[in-house]
Amino acid sequence: MSLLQEVWQAVKAIGTGMATVHKRVYEEAPTEFYPYVKPELPPVSVQSLALVENEDGSERCIVCLQCERACPAQVITIERHRNPEGKGFLIDRFDIDLVNCMYCAACVEACPVSSIVTIQDFEMSTYDLQTLKADIDFLHEQARRARQWYSPKFGVELRTDDGRIEKAPPEMQPGGLAEILKPAEEVDS
């Protein structure tokens, strides 16, 4: 009798499994159509680095070398000289080796003026590695192309259509502020 019971259980299990599988056919796929539709990433996601200029085109970077010291993969190379006309330093060379960079954003955290920031452009694949050896012009271009960027000091910043740099509204900011400002029912769900 137990053999028949086993057989019946096996048949029942296979039937249940096949019914479950068949139900899956009618469920909607969560596929994002990547190359045609670009996913909107959260602002804190570190996909690439950029160097932000001020609105008037001057450097925001004060060449303090904090990022170079903080970098665990040692991909940042900075050369500087003293400003002959006033305080501070001027940049001779600011290279980030985006090939070897491990996108940990330690440099972004270390930057006291939020000059070096993270952007969400992940489409960096290339036929030639030399396109990823970023010099200062490329890093500026990255910042100009990005519509928004993130640094821990200033939060999410936006570039408006007329070229001004603004702090993003609180609902776009990551972390605690956005959670507080959300309607209560949204948080519950």
């Binding site: 796929a29 969560p30 596929t31 994002e32 990547y34 190359p35 996913p39 996909q47 665990p72 993969a73 985006l98 090939v99 070897n100 960079c101 491990m102 996108y103 940990c104 992940f122 489409e123 960096m124 694949s125 290339t126 036929y127 030639d128 590695l129 990823l132």
Partner: protein, 184 residues
């Protein structure tokens, strides 16, 4: 890879068209090798999951190198692994392509001055497309695969092969002046 193993597109109208057709087919049916090395391999798996679904573009994994077209080097390549990787590459049937995924495979990444790490997989096998990132997003891998597709389908681009490395090249045998491997 040309139609009959030649290195340039046939000038003949019929053969040239056939060459374009065959390469179009090759570009639209790239089967990668199931070969994961490190954490990038997790993202490589995620590229075939329902959210990204690279199978939309006719790509699915083949387990044996004989039937695979694309090798995705997904992770840190040690000097010990380098010989195995080269062997797998040699076992793949022509035409074959390589994608280098992530900082470690590109140039060693954070481990690039380690005693055991090959600084760039393009020292061992000719690489067609590089992906930066540590690890790259699954979308970035899909972008690289589609860039490779465009490269194969393009008339001029597909004959620009990367530098060929001889099969008996030994990473262990060729240190630089400072005792380390030269950085490309």
């Amino acid at each position: 890879m040309g139609l009959l193993g030649s290195d340039e597109r046939p000038r003949d109208v019929i053969l040239g068209t056939l060459d374009d057709l065959i390469n179009m087919a090759r570009s639209r049916s790239m089967w990668p090798l199931t070969f994961g090395i490190a954490c990038c391999a997790i993202e490589m798996m995620a590229t075939w999951d329902p959210k990204i679904d690279a199978d939309r573009f006719g790509m699915f994994f083949r387990n044996t190198p004989r039937q695979a077209d694309v090798m995705i080097v997904s992770g840190t390549v040690n000097k010990k692994l380098a010989k195995r990787l080269r062997r797998l590459y040699d076992q793949m049937a022509e035409p074959k392509w390589v994608i280098s995924m992530g900082a470690c495979a590109n140039q060693g990444g954070p481990f690039r001055q380690g005693y055991s790490v090959v600084e760039g997989v393009d020292k061992i096998v000719p690489v067609d497309v590089y992906i930066p990132g540590c690890p790259p997003r699954p979308e970035a891998l899909l972008q690289a695969l589609l860039l490779l597709r465009d490269k194969i389908a393009d008339r001029e681009l597909r004959y620009k092969k990367p530098r060929e490395i001889p099969a008996d090249y030994d990473v262990m045998a060729e240190p630089g002046k400072d005792g380390r491997l030269p950085v490309l």
